[in-house]
């Protein structure tokens, strides 16, 4: 299951989708909205996706992971729209026969998702807003 959705993510459903009777291990990563960033309070986040391409890129990542680890089941769900602190932005779950593979595969998927999949977030603070990572990092004292 690959899902880009404006509705709240049902983590239990993501886990159930990834589970398998042949698996002994399920690893799940849940990315949530923090209430602070760079020392400022986050009021909300805006997530935007290029949906058709995002689904395609996630599929490529899953294909790669399936070649590297014995995945028995998997599910990726990413939320878009307006999210408040504490809400789930992304959930990734994989099941494998043994636990080490489940950790490695799940970490590979979320790490690669974060650099390849066309999804963007804008942090909205009390005094402004910013598209994350858009510009080169500026040194604090410059």
């Amino acid at each position: 299951m690959i899902k880009i959705t404006e509705k709240p993510i049902d983590v239990q459903k993501v886990i159930d989708t990834a589970s398998s009777l042949n698996a002994g291990a399920v690893n799940v990563f849940v990315g949530t909205v923090r209430n602070n960033a760079h020392g400022k309070n986050v009021v909300w986040l805006e997530y935007e996706a290029y949906e058709t391409m995002a689904v395609g890129e996630i599929r490529k990542i899953i294909d790669d992971a399936s070649h590297r680890w014995p995945l028995l089941g998997w599910a990726v769900s990413h939320r878009i729209g307006t999210l408040k602190p504490g809400e789930v932005a992304v959930a990734v779950a994989v099941s494998t026969p043994h636990r080490k593979d489940s950790f490695e595969a799940c970490q590979y998927i979320i790490d690669t998702l974060k650099v390849k999949v066309p999804i963007w977030k804008k942090e909205v603070f009390e005094d402004g807003e910013e598209w994350i990572s858009a510009h080169p990092a500026v040194a604090v004292n410059s």
């Binding site: 990315g31 997530y47 935007e48 996706a49 290029y50 058709t52 391409m53 995002a54 395609g56 990413h78 932005a89 992304v90 979320i110 998702l113 974060k114 650099v115 390849k116 999949v117 066309p118 999804i119 963007w120 977030k121 804008k122 598209w131 994350i132 990572s133 858009a134 510009h135 080169p136």
Partner: protein
């Protein structure tokens, strides 16, 4: 001149001033389109990176764009 319809996401939507813009470029490669975009919207060159996707895949600078291709600007992603 060739005419391209370009989708913009994230910060490029702000820079271009819309979700979809028509751009004219003298050539038909991704590189030609990039040069035209940078000239018209210099703020694009200040981004940490800017990929151009053709038909839902990241495209090389030498890739040729043909009629009907879906073109999109991909500024630095920040999902998850």
């Amino acid at each position: 001149m060739h005419t391209f319809r370009v989708k913009a996401f994230g910060i490029t939507k702000d820079i271009l001033g819309g979700k979809e813009m028509v751009i004219e470029a003298p050539g038909v490669t991704v590189g030609d389109l990039r040069a035209a975009l940078n000239e018209k919207y210099p703020k694009l060159t200040g981004l940490r990176s800017l990929f151009i996707a053709v038909n839902n895949s990241y495209a090389d600078e030498t890739a040729v764009i043909t009629d009907g291709d879906e073109i999109a600007l991909i500024p630095p992603v920040s999902g998850g």
